[in-house]
C-alpha cells in the first residue's frame, strides 16, 4: 500500500470514528486512540514533558472530541488536523493555567519549564518539521521568524513568553510572528 493509500485509509477511518462519536458510540474514541493515540500522546509529552500531564491532556482532549464531533464542519480541514488542534489546545490550557501548574512541587515545575526551553533547538530545527513542503518553506524563512513560529506552535509559548525569551518588545514579537507566518503561508500556497 502506498503512503497515499495509507493516508486516505486513515482519513476515512478517522471520519468514521468521528461520525461514531457524533452518534454517541464510544467505540469512536477507542478507534481514534487506536489510530492516533501514540502520536497524540507524543505531542502532549513533548509540550508538557510530564507523562501524567500528557495523559491528562489527551484524556481531556478525547472528552472534547466526543462532545464536539457533532458540530464538526466538513469543509473545515481534515479530521486529523481538527483532533490535533483540540489536543494542542488542552495542552496550552494546562501550560497557561497558573493554578494547575502551581500544584506541582517547585522542583517539578522547574523541570517542566526547563524542558520547554529545550523543545525548539536553534540548530537542527529540521527534526521538528518532518519531510516535505513545510520543512522547505520553514527553511526559507529567516532564522528569527522560524524560531518564534516554532516556539509558539511546537512548544506552546505565549506572545509574552516569546518576547521575553527572545529579548524583544512584545509588539516586535507579535509582528515578527505575523510576518513570518504570512511568508510561510505564501510559500505553502
Amino acid at each position: 500500500m502506498s503512503d497515499d493509500d495509507t493516508g486516505q485509509d486513515r482519513a476515512a477511518q478517522l471520519r468514521q470514528a468521528l461520525a461514531d462519536c457524533a452518534a454517541g458510540r464510544e467505540g469512536g474514541i477507542a478507534a481514534i486512540l487506536e489510530i492516533e493515540g501514540r502520536q497524540l500522546l507524543g505531542v502532549a509529552q513533548r509540550m508538557l514533558s510530564r507523562r501524567d500531564l500528557a495523559e491528562e491532556a489527551l484524556q481531556d482532549a478525547m472528552v472534547q472530541v466526543w462532545r464536539k464531533a457533532a458540530n464538526l464542519r466538513p469543509d473545515g480541514g481534515s479530521a486529523r488536523g481538527w483532533i490535533y488542534a483540540i489536543l494542542r489546545n488542552r495542552c496550552l490550557n494546562i501550560l497557561r493555567d497558573g493554578r494547575r501548574l502551581a500544584i506541582l512541587p517547585p522542583a517539578d515545575l522547574a523541570l517542566v519549564q526547563e524542558a520547554r526551553q529545550q523543545i525548539v533547538p536553534e540548530e537542527n530545527w529540521e527534526i521538528l518539521s518532518g519531510p516535505g513542503k513545510l520543512r522547505q518553506c520553514l527553511g526559507g524563512l529567516d532564522g528569527q521568524s522560524r524560531q518564534v513560529i516554532l516556539l509558539a506552535y511546537v512548544a506552546g509559548f505565549s506572545h509574552g513568553e516569546i518576547a521575553a525569551r527572545q529579548n524583544m518588545p512584545l509588539g516586535t514579537a507579535k509582528s515578527l510572528i505575523r510576518r513570518g507566518l504570512s511568508a510561510l503561508k505564501e510559500c505553502l500556497s
Binding site: G37, W66, R73, R80, Y153, I177, R178
Partner: protein
Amino acid sequence: MTGLSDDILDLASDYVLGLMPESEARLFEEIIERDPELARLVGALRDQLLPLDLSAPPQDLSDGFVARVQAGLETDKQAHSVAEPETDMSPRSANSNRAPSGSVLGLIAAAVVGLAVGFGAGWLRPLPEPQVIAVLLDDQGVPQAVVEDYGNDTASVRFVADIDVPADRSLQVWTLPSPEIGATSLGVLDRTAPTRLSFEDLPGPTAQQLYEVTLEPAGGSPTGRPTGPIIGKGFAAPQV
C-alpha cells in the same frame, strides 16, 4: 482571494498557532462555526502545520488508558444528562482572571456580525441581520454568552463558556428596554445550547441597552424579574 479582513486573518493565524488567550479563542470558535470561508482557512492552515505535530516522538499509551478515557465519557454523558459539567480543568476556570482586551472583543463582536450576514445555525436557514449584539461578560470580564436581537421580537443566545446549570435551575435571558418597562424576560433555557428566543411587544433594541442572563429556579423567575445570580451581562452594540 479572500473576503476576510486582514484583522481576521491575523486572528486566524494567532488562533492556529495557539497564541490567542482562551477567552478570545472561545469567541473566535463561534465565528469559525458560522463562517465557511474562515473555517476553510483555519482548517487549511492547521493541515499545513500538522507535520510539526507528526514530528513528535510517539509514546505508547499506558495499559488501561483507553478504558479510563471511555469511563470518563460515561461520566460525561451522565453529567450532561443533568447539567453541563464544569470541571476544575475547564478553560473558563483556567482563565477566569484574564479578560479579553476591549479592542479584540470589539473586533470579534464586529466579525460575528460581519460574517454572520445571511446564515445562522445549520447554514441552511438565512437569518435576518441582528440590529444589536451584546457580548455578556461575567464579573471577571470573561465572555459567557452572545445575544443577537433582531428587533422583530426575536433574538438568539449562544453561550461561549461552560456554564454549570444545576438540575433544579434554569437560565433566563433578560433585557432592560427602558427604566419604565423594567427588566423583561426574553426566554428561559434549561441548557446552554444555542437558542432562538421569541417574545412579544418590546420596543426595538437600542444602543447600550442592557442584556443579561441569570440563574433562576427551574422554569424561570417566580417574580417575573431577575432574582438569581448574574451569569453574564453586557450592553447592546448597534449593527445597522
